[in-house]
Structure formats: C-alpha cells, structure tokens
C-alpha cells in the first residue's frame, strides 16, 4: 500500500452555529514535513485538535487512519499512546517546574510510584542533547527564553516516543536565530523518521522546510501541493489561502467621510510580562468619521495589544504616545476615561472578555453605561428592558426575549449583543476586534451591515481582522501591522490581499 502514515477522511466538525471543518481529506506521508497553511479561522487548529483527540471521537464526522489502523481517540492521552503529539501555540509548560520535570510531566520516570530523579535528569539531559539545548535539566523553565522553551516542548514530545509531531505556529514567538535552529531540528527529526505536521503563517519558512503543503480556507481543504512535483511559490500559497470569491459577501456602501475622529501618534506599548519588549512600537494612525479603517496583521503582530492599550490602557505597561479625539489631545488612563471620550472596544474573545455569560441580554447591553439608565444611582429596569428590546429588533438578535441568557446564544447573536452594548454607550469611535470570528457566513453578512450602518451614522470604525477578504470588502483604508510596527497603509483602491500580506510579513526595517 501507500506510504501514508496518516489519513483523515471526510472530516467535518461543527460548533453550535459554525461549521469549522467541512469534508476535509488529509494524507500525510511517512517521514515528511507537512505544512498546513490558511488564514486564522480557516480550520487548521481545529483539524489538529480533531487529530490529537482534543475533540474526541464522536464529536466530529469522518475517519482517521494512523499507520494503517483506525483511530478513535477519546482524549489526548489516547493519541499520545499511538505516538501523535501536539505542541500548541501557547506552550503548555509549568513555568515553576524544572526542565526535566516538564519533559516527563504525566509521563514520569518512576519506580513503584516514586520518581526516580537520577533517571529523570539523566534521560532529560540526553533528550536536551538531541534537541540541541545546552541547559541543565534542573533549571526552572521560567528562567529560560521562549525559544528554549519551545525546544523543551519538543524534548517532551520525544520522551513520549513521538511518531507524528504536530506543531502549531512553532516559530510565531521566536526570533530569527531561534527559528532557524528550530527548523534545523525539525529537519534532523525528519532524518530520524519522525513525521511532522507544522502549522505556520511564515510562508518563507514553509517553502523552505516543507515537503508538502496543504491549504485550508473556510474549513475546506483547497489543495495539497508537493514541493517535489509542483512549482510552489509564496504567491501561489497566498492565492490558495485567500481565494477569489469576494463578490456578494459584503453589503454595498457609499462612504461619506467626515473630519478626523481619532488619531494616535507615536504609540508605543511594552509587554507586561516580558520586560523591555515593545509589543507596539511607534504606531501612528488616524480614523475619520464615517470611515471604516482596517488593521491587518498576523498573529502576534500586536493588533489587539494596540487596540486595548488605546482603550484606557487595558493592556500593556510603559505606554507612551498621544491620542487625539476630534483633533484635541486627550488623556485616557482608564477604561472609563475611554468610554467617556466616546471610544468603544469590542473584544476578539467575546466569551472571556466581552459578555457576562450567566446574565441575560438586557443586562449585558446596559453593562458599559448603566449610569445612563439610572437616576440617583437607581436603575430604571423597565427603561433598560425597552432599550435592550429595541437593540434586539434593530440588530436582529435571534433570541426569544431580552431576558435570554447570553451564554446560550450562537456566536453571531452574542456578537450582536456585544455591538449593542457598545452602541448603547454612544461611542463615536468603535474598535472592533475580529468582529466576525467564529461566526457563520450568514451572520457575518449581518455584522457587516451593522458596521456599514454605524459608518453611515458618522461613527469612526477601526476593524481588526485576520481575514484579509473581510478587510478588503469592508474597509475604506487598511493599515498593516508587523511585529508591532505599522508597515504600510493602503487605500481601498490600492489594497490587494497580496500587497497586504507582503506588508504584514515584512521584516522589521530599522
């Protein structure tokens, strides 16, 4: 038979209201490095979670065959037993434990229930040697850099006798040197017969290391390219990732652009965890009334950090720069200041940061400006009901009533509640972070319509999105952000996905 180590057949995975994967067929050959490319939300991570048992058998449709035998994993331990190990984007190390302890976490070298520390540290040292990390195994993980932590993750996978290693954006947080070392290591593992599946946004990397490239878009597999037989260029990958069907996905709008509403000058934000690292460096941008401005950038480029730091310093330390509202410089130090100055920020993570999921629609809509419904500290809850009901109808929130608990709504309807909440604050500047993430196509159209209506009403909008077609279809102007710097600005007429992608992947020019 063929030398495919892995076959995934007709994989379909749906979440409430969203089809994340649709009829995906993926084959990975034994001993190759197989890259998976696609925009954020294309279904890459979901596919890998299906493969590694994060989503257990039965929660998806389709079949998985690994090394000729069918797989029905009920959790990660199941898949690890078969030699499939996934390394997630956010590293899953315990920072307070030593390297050796992390390597054998859940897989301890023990005799009769007691950890054999000599063996643990000895074997850890051998594994560290294999991944080329010169550190003492008893060093605490918190004391080594992100690049080295990534190597510890790989050593941990090797300790489990990995046969198929899945890496989700392994180099996203690494500098060039660490990335190069990691890629060399992967080549070495390939020589030892370990098969790798790597998810990456860095197309130059992909082109240099992969043997095959699979492209996903909107939950579907577009094509699998073989570097041995096909001619593969970055442009070709981008073309596959972004697709060509922009028509009819966006409601029409004639922009009516007024004076400047928000201007940010020389905005620099430092990371609160990694001292001295500038997450946003010297960013300058402006938004005018009636204008929809896009902010494009890859994962880790600093888009959300930029937005949240402007929104009352909700993120970051050591922030410097100036903010102008309607041409006047303003001092915004807290979220309340930001709301008072007519700025709203709708988060990319509705469930964690946007909504009180155990409360009803009504109370979520009023949450950011409850004072408006109150007289001398007492809330008029009938008025609150009336206003929430009005938004429910205006924004077409599909729920039996505004007394429905938001945790039970679909993603699209939750997003409409978040938008209602910020529209209710009468903000003039709305920053929408991934407004259509996790929302199905029909609801996306509705969200776009709402955004257009807001622009027509003279609001200034900044839309952050990982989906380039969305930015092109929606925005009058798009800024590109790369590694914390604004690397370019394109008008609607000039913007193409290829040009944006080039700006977004532009290395820091110093």
């Amino acid at each position: 038979m063929s030398d495919d180590i892995l076959r995934m057949r007709a994989i379909t995975k749906t979440f409430p209201g969203v089809r994340a994967l649709q009829d995906v067929n993926l084959s990975v050959r034994r001993g190759e490095i197989h890259a998976i490319c696609g925009e954020n939300g294309a279904g890459k991570s979901t596919l890998m979670k299906v493969l590694s048992g994060v989503y257990p058998h039965g929660s998806y449709e389709g079949e998985i065959t690994f090394d000729g035998a069918p797989c029905r994993f009920s959790d990660i331990r199941d898949s690890e037993r078969r030699g499939i190990v996934i390394i997630h984007q956010e590293l899953a190390l315990c920072p307070q434990l030593s390297i050796a302890e992390n390597i054998f976490l859940g897989n301890e070298r023990a005799r009769r229930g007691l950890v054999d520390w000599n063996r643990t540290n000895h074997e850890a040292a051998r594994l560290l040697d294999r991944v080329g990390l010169r550190e003492n195994p008893v060093t605490t993980v918190a004391d080594i850099g992100v690049g080295k932590q990534q190597l510890v993750e790989i050593a941990k996978a090797l300790a489990k006798e990995v046969r198929l290693l899945i890496l989700d954006e392994p180099t996203a947080a690494l500098n060039d040197e660490d990335s190069a070392h990691l890629l060399d290591l992967l080549r070495g593992l390939r020589a030892e017969g370990v098969t790798c599946v790597i998810i990456s946004h860095k197309l130059n990397e992909v082109a240099s290391i992969a043997d095959s490239i699979t492209i996903l878009r909107d939950g579907r597999l577009i094509e699998t390219l073989s570097l041995a037989t096909d001619e593969v260029t970055e442009d070709r990958i981008i073309a596959g990732m972004v697709g060509r069907d922009l028509e009819h996905r966006f409601p029409a709008r004639v922009p009516d652009i007024g004076p400047e509403a928000l201007r940010i000058e020389d905005w620099t934000v430092h990371s609160p965890v990694q001292l001295g690292r500038a997450v946003v460096a010297g960013a300058t941008l402006s938004i005018r009334r009636g204008e929809i401005v896009g902010l494009a950038g890859l994962m880790g480029a600093g888009r959300t950090e930029l937005a949240m730091s402007v929104f009352g310093r909700a993120y970051g330390t050591n922030i410097s720069g100036r903010i102008y509202r309607d041409g006047r410089e303003v001092d915004i130090r807290t979220v309340r200041d930001a709301i008072r100055h007519g700025i709203a920020y709708a988060t990319e993570d509705r469930k964690r940061y946007g909504l009180n999921l155990i409360e009803d629609i009504k109370r979520n809509v009023s949450a950011a400006d409850l004072g408006k419904l109150a007289r001398r500290g007492w809330v008029d809850d009938n008025e609150e009901y009336r206003i929430a009901e009005q938004y429910r109808r205006d924004l077409n929130i599909k729920a039996p009533s505004v007394l429905s608990v938001t945790g039970k709504l679909s993603g699209g309807n939750q997003q409409k509640v978040v938008l209602s909440k910020w529209i209710f604050t009468d903000a003039d500047v709305l920053i929408l972070d991934e407004p259509t993430r996790g929302i199905d196509v029909g609801a996306k159209y509705e969200i776009y319509s709402i955004i257009n209506r807001l622009a027509d009403a003279g609001k200034a909008l900044l839309v952050i999105s990982s989906e380039l077609p969305e930015l092109l279809g929606l925005c009058d102007r798009v800024y590109a952000l790369s590694a914390g710097r604004i690397t370019g600005e394109l008008s609607r007429a000039d913007a193409t996905q290829e040009r944006l992608m080039q700006l977004m992947t532009k290395e820091q020019s110093r």
């Binding site: 909700a314 409850l370 909440k421």
Partner: protein, 394 residues
C-alpha cells in the same frame, strides 16, 4: 397544561429554596407537635438567628462578587468588645457608641478591602489573616473575661420587643394580640401588594411578558399568608422583636441595592465575568473595596446585637459565625463561581439552618446530629444547584 404553566413560571432553580424551606418548616412542625410555630418559638428563631442573618446579607454581596470573608466571626467579637469598652468602661451615650462601633467595623472592612481590592491578595487569605488578627485584638482588649452589662436600650434592640403602644385586641379563639404589631403587619402586606402590583403594571406598560395572573396571585397570597402567620403569632406573644424590624429594613434596603442600584448591578457584573466588567469601564477595585467595608459595618452591627443579647462582650463571641453566614449564602442559591445570588435567598438559607437548629433542639437531638444534618443540607443545596445548572446546559 396548568401544571406545565406553573412549572415554567416557578423556575425550579430559583424557587427550589423556598419550597425546601416550606417543607422543612412543615416537617419540624409535625415532629415537634406544632411547638415550632408557637408564638414564643417563632420569636426565639428570629432573635437567636438575627446576627447570622445580618452577616449573611453582607456575605451574599461578597460571594456574588466572587470573593469570600472568613473573618466575620472575629469581627463580630472585636466590635462587640469595642462597643462594650465604649459603653461600659467609657460610659459614652449608647447611640454615639453604636455609631463609633459601626465606624470601627467599616475601618476593619476597609483594611481588608484594601489588601483584597488594591493590593490583589485573594480574599480567602486576607480574611483568614483577619480571622486571627481580630480574634487576637479581641483578646487583647478583653483579656480573658467579658465586659458588661450593656445599657438597657442596646439590650432592648437585641432581645426586646416593641411596646404595646395601642393596647391589645381580641382575636377570638387565638386570644389577645398586640394591635400595633398587627397594624405593622397589615402595612407590610399592603406595601408588598402595591409594589408588586405596580411593578407588574409597569412591565405590562412596556409590553414585557409577565407571569400569568394566577401565578402572580398565588405567589403574593403565599407571601402574605406567611407574614400574617408570623405577625399574628408574634402579636400574641410579646409583640415584634426589634431585631425583626431591623432585619426587615435591612432586607428591604439590600434587596433594592442588589436589584435596582447601579452599585448592586456592578457586583453581579464583576462576579459574572471580571474581565468583561473591567472592559466595560466598571471600577472593579472600588466596588470590591466597598463591599468589604459594608461587610465590616454589618459585622459590627451583628457584634453589638450579639453582645447585647448576652449582655456582655466575651472573648469567644462570634466563633464560627463566618461558617454559618457562608453556608446561609450558599444554601440560599449563591453560586460558588460568583455572579449569582439574592439577599432574600441568603436570608432563607439562614432561616433554614435556624429552623433546623431550633427544631432539632426542640425534639432533643444532640448537637452532633444537628451539625451532621446542617452539613448534609449545605452539600445537598449546592449539589442541587450544580445539578440544575448541568441539566440546563444539555
């Protein structure tokens, strides 16, 4: 059809606690041959549990916000001691001493609130430390002995009853009853009916859906019946205990605070999703700080009442009160994760424990069995809450 309508309107998760309370009262009435609902015993239940109920009002706010307070028992002791020193040793007029004691409670709350809200130490740790600190302070102030006796007005507040200002009135076979108490009861019922009715018509005016009229009437009648029974029984005994009047006012005020005030609504928002509350511009630190100040003031009030009831401030006062107050809040439907809970629920939870205590002592159960039953009730109440939640998500 009627049953399903009732089922929908009487949300089992919300009303389960009241039904449980009713069942427990019925059960102990039968077990005690009606002694539970005798006039004097009703009065006893109220007076004996008043300080726990006051504490549970403060505790429910803290638990809704997703925190906890383990120090209230020690705060009860230290504020009782402060009140005793001020009233007995310094001989200050009792109203001034009371106000100073409440302020002291507020300062204690502010101390803990500072470490929790502004310094970021978990409430569990801060109040665990407070539990030791304020007990130590109590012992320092009191030495190993109690201070007393308290002035009469304070004892009246804790133990006493409203006077028969208007004399007695015959109630046929029930005998004589205090007219003033009955009038207060009638006023309470009238107030309850009118506010409920107004809220209902206002909602209808806004085209909101309301519960069917039959259910509305049933709820109102049940509540009124409870008030009638309690008030009539109390009027037949010695009129209304002052602590009951105080409690009723506190419950009213804090119910309004939690349901209608901006401040109260912010507590729910914080407990429901801290990050979302922060990103909605709610000053989380300030809100958390003030609910601990509030807890300190209420604990001081409970401290004075408890000391007044015993007529002395003792070094062991308030031992394990925090556990009863926390249990009351959770039995009353508060969620462990925060964001959920009602003042009336916490009061009901406290009363459930009070009735169990009282009923079991009436039938002569040993204290270890009372403790056992209370433990089981607490676990069962929270298990029921978790179960209904899990069922709802399916």
């Amino acid at each position: 059809m009627t049953a399903s309508l009732l089922g929908r309107s009487l949300n089992i998760r919300q009303s389960g606690i009241y039904i449980a309370f009713a069942l427990i009262v019925v059960l102990f009435s039968i077990l005690t041959d009606g002694a539970l609902l005798q006039p004097q015993n009703i009065s006893n239940i109220v007076v004996q549990n008043s300080y726990i109920l006051i504490l549970s009002i403060g505790m429910i706010l803290i638990i809704i916000a997703g925190h906890i307070d383990l120090s209230v028992g020690s705060v009860v002791a230290v504020t009782g001691a402060i009140a005793a020193v001020l009233m007995v040793e310094y001989g200050l007029p009792w109203p001034l001493a009371l106000v100073l004691t409440l302020i002291a409670g507020g300062v204690i709350g502010a101390w803990q609130g500072y470490w929790i809200a502004y310094y970021g130490i978990p409430a569990f740790i801060v109040t665990l430390a407070g539990m030791l600190l304020f007990r130590a302070l109590t012992l320092t102030v009191l030495g190993n002995q109690g201070i007393g006796p308290f002035p009469d007005p304070v004892r009246t507040l804790s133990n006493g009853f409203t006077d028969g200002y208007l004399g007695n009135i015959g109630l046929g076979p029930l005998g004589g009853a205090d007219l003033f108490s009955l009038i207060i009861g009638a006023l309470v019922i009238t107030g309850m009916v009118t506010t409920q009715w107004r809220a209902r018509t206002a909602r209808l005016g806004y085209h909101q859906s309301v519960e069917p009229f039959a259910v509305f009437l049933l709820k109102l009648l049940t509540a009124a019946a409870v008030v009638v029974v309690v008030v009539v029984q109390l009027a037949r005994f010695k009129n209304l205990p002052w602590v009951l009047v105080l409690l009723a006012l506190l419950v009213l005020a804090y119910s309004l605070l939690t349901t209608r005030a901006v401040f109260g609504r912010q507590i729910y928002a914080i407990g429901g999703n801290l990050q979302a509350a922060q990103l909605s511009g709610i000053n989380v630190r300030q809100v958390v700080f003030w609910i601990f100040v509030n807890m300190g003031v209420l604990a001081a009030l409970a401290g004075v009442i408890f000391a007044g009831r015993l007529n002395q401030a003792g070094p062991t006062a308030g031992n394990a009160f925090e556990l009863d107050a926390i249990a009351a809040a959770f039995i009353g439907g508060a969620a462990v994760q925060g964001g959920v809970g009602k003042v009336v629920g916490a009061i009901t939870g406290g009363l459930i424990m009070g009735v169990i205590n009282n009923g079991m002592s009436l039938i002569g159960s040993p204290s270890e069995r009372v403790m056992l039953v209370k433990g089981i009730v607490l676990l069962a109440a929270v298990a029921f809450d978790v179960w209904t939640k899990r069922r709802a998500t399916r």
